[in-house]
């Protein structure tokens, strides 16, 4: 089985982001960047399938500026075999990303495409589902367990009411939830080795996809600040506050 994993370079999730004062967006220059955490779960899942003898090749793909080579190298150091960067400096919408990935799927013909469930910058949670639509493949989103058998996948999904198990024929698209696995840290020798693995860099514009944004971002603003409240001295005071709150609620 051949697996394609899509990874995204995002502002590191531990960075406290700053909205630009002119409202044009979030400050991303000079900020620590890393692989989107959910993408790490997707790479780890692919590597585990390979280690179990169930995957023969893992190809990792990223779309973004030249610097996205970093996150591809991280995935290669975790165990992927080769990388593809679709290079562009433009900020692309999820539909354009999915269309580009669909072209890569057409070329590579993977049996399974793994993605993270969402990127922690735009928080969209679109691309896996869109790619499944564009390639006419079944999807299993928010996966917390993946089992392969007999040309089909059994996937357990994290859903609002608990979990559910679905069975998909291959080829399929799966997006990773937090609880799928614990991503490994690539050891230094692996990082050194990753540098000699093949990495193809291709301009995103060469894929014949219209990358023009459909939506206009008018402004980006910080959320309303919460003001620090008061500190109470006793449980009785707290009980009184809660009771007053509930009475006010029920009065409405």
């Amino acid at each position: 089985m051949k697996i394609l994993v899509a990874v995204k370079r995002v502002v590191d999730h531990n960075v406290r982001i700053r909205v630009r004062p002119d409202g044009s967006g979030v400050e991303t220059s000079g900020v620590r960047m890393s692989m989107n955490p959910f993408c790490k779960h997707a790479v780890e899942a692919a590597v585990q399938l390979a280690e179990a003898g169930q995957a023969s090749e893992i190809v990792v793909v990223s779309i973004g500026p030249k610097a996205s080579n970093d996150v591809i190298l991280t995935a290669l150091a975790m165990g992927a075999q080769r990388g593809i960067l679709l290079e562009t400096d433009a900020s692309l919408e999820t539909l354009a990303i999915a269309k580009l990935l669909a072209k890569v799927v057409e070329e590579e013909q993977p049996d399974l495409v793994l993605l993270g469930k969402q990127a922690v910058d735009d928080d969209s949670n679109h691309v896996g589902q869109m790619l499944a639509a564009l390639t006419n493949r079944p999807q299993a989103t928010f996966a917390s367990e993946i089992k392969l058998g007999d040309g089909r996948l059994e996937v357990t999904r994290e859903v609002d009411y608990g979990r559910e198990t679905v069975n998909l024929p291959l080829p399929a698209i799966v997006t990773a939830d937090l609880r799928l696995n614990t991503p490994r840290n690539a050891a230094l020798p692996m990082v050194m080795k990753a540098r000699s693995k093949p990495l193809a860099v291709r301009p995103a514009a060469d894929f014949g996809v219209d990358l023009t944004p459909r939506l206009a971002v008018e402004k980006v603003s910080p959320p309303a600040e919460r003001v620090t409240g008061r500190t109470l001295g006793s449980v009785s005071e707290l009980a009184a506050v809660i009771a007053a709150e509930i009475n006010a609620m029920e009065a409405i």
């Binding site: 928080d123 869109m130 299993a140 989103t141 859903v159």
Partner: protein, 307 residues
């Protein structure tokens, strides 16, 4: 301008989120509501104020089947809308790609019929987007909108457009509980990793029961096995906006704060006065939760508070 809303049906019953999505969508046009399930859920849907017509259909609970069904209905509508729930998130992007539309998802405010506000970066920034596409695929954050009232009696029309799925549904693993729905509860009590154990969480549940509240948990508490996954509140769990949120033993990691920023009032019970949650809470009580919570339950019960 007509709107088709995909209803939330859980275990045969219409979910409380649906009324909120209908209320939000009514700002966009006349609302038809698609219900996947049985006649009882359709009747409950028909009672929601603002619903013009209920479409009842049978469908497999799989994204490809549901988006296929929506695709057959799409030509009659300007807006295709669902809740930003696991169902809406699963189905709507797939539908949008099929229709070649860039969707706008997790909307927390509708500024005009094609201007929407959505949070990015775990709620640390708000993005206002305008959507000039001729048709719109949207998901709406239920907790950001008030519910619609009832008393309507919209007509119910049964559809017979079976759409097959390539996938098969095998089993549901439901977290059984009689506590209110987390995403729409007016009061939520949340527990963090300091609660220490699954047994410790019983104390949180007991406080919840006293207040008629839903129970939430941080990712750390869920990862430690103290609480089920579907109680997780945060960027990657549920996003809530109750009138009152009581955070017990929660330090307030960015990821968790993303899930509670919409709460009207936040109460924090914590040992650490410097914890991030103490900085944003409206009311803070510093101390050991194992001493405070039982006393609090007793005080509230003494006051005759029972919901």
């Amino acid at each position: 301008m007509s709107v088709l809303v995909l209803a939330e049906v859980d275990n045969g019953a219409l979910s409380p989120a649906t009324g909120r999505i209908v209320a939000a969508s009514a700002e966009l046009g006349a609302v038809d509501l698609l219900v996947l399930g049985d006649a009882a859920a359709a009747q409950a849907a028909a009672a929601i104020a603002g619903v013009q017509k209920v479409l009842l259909a049978a469908s497999e609970p799989m994204a490809d089947a549901i988006s296929g069904l929506l695709e057959t209905l799409a030509p009659s509508y300007t807006y295709l809308v669902a809740a930003a729930s696991t169902l809406g998130k699963d189905v709507m992007p797939r539908l949008a790609a099929r229709l070649d539309i860039q969707p706008v998802t997790d909307i927390v405010a509708i500024e005009s019929p094609n201007r929407f506000v959505r949070p990015i970066y775990a709620g640390n920034a708000l993005e206002t987007v305008s959507d000039p596409q001729p048709r719109h695929v949207l998901t709406i954050r239920a907790s950001a909108f008030r519910p619609a009232s009832g008393g309507n009696a919209a007509p119910v029309e049964t559809l017979s457009t079976p759409v097959a799925s390539a996938a098969r549904f095998i089993a549901a693993h439901r977290t059984e509980s009689d506590i209110p729905d987390l995403a729409t509860a007016q009061i939520v009590v949340g527990g963090g990793v300091s609660v220490g154990s699954a047994d410790g969480f019983k104390l949180i549940e007991q406080l919840g029961k006293t207040l008629g509240a839903a129970v939430g948990a941080t990712r750390a508490a869920v990862d430690a096995g103290y609480a089920p996954n579907d109680w997780q509140v945060g960027q990657t769990g549920k996003i809530i906006a109750p009138d009152l949120y009581i955070a017990v033993g929660i330090s307030g990691a960015l990821q968790h704060l993303a899930g509670i920023q919409g709460a009207k009032k936040i109460v924090a019970i914590n040992t650490d006065a410097e914890a991030p949650i103490a900085k944003i809470a409206d009311v803070v009580l510093i101390g050991d939760l194992f001493e405070i919570v039982p006393q609090l339950i007793a005080e509230l019960e003494n006051q005759g508070l029972k919901r």
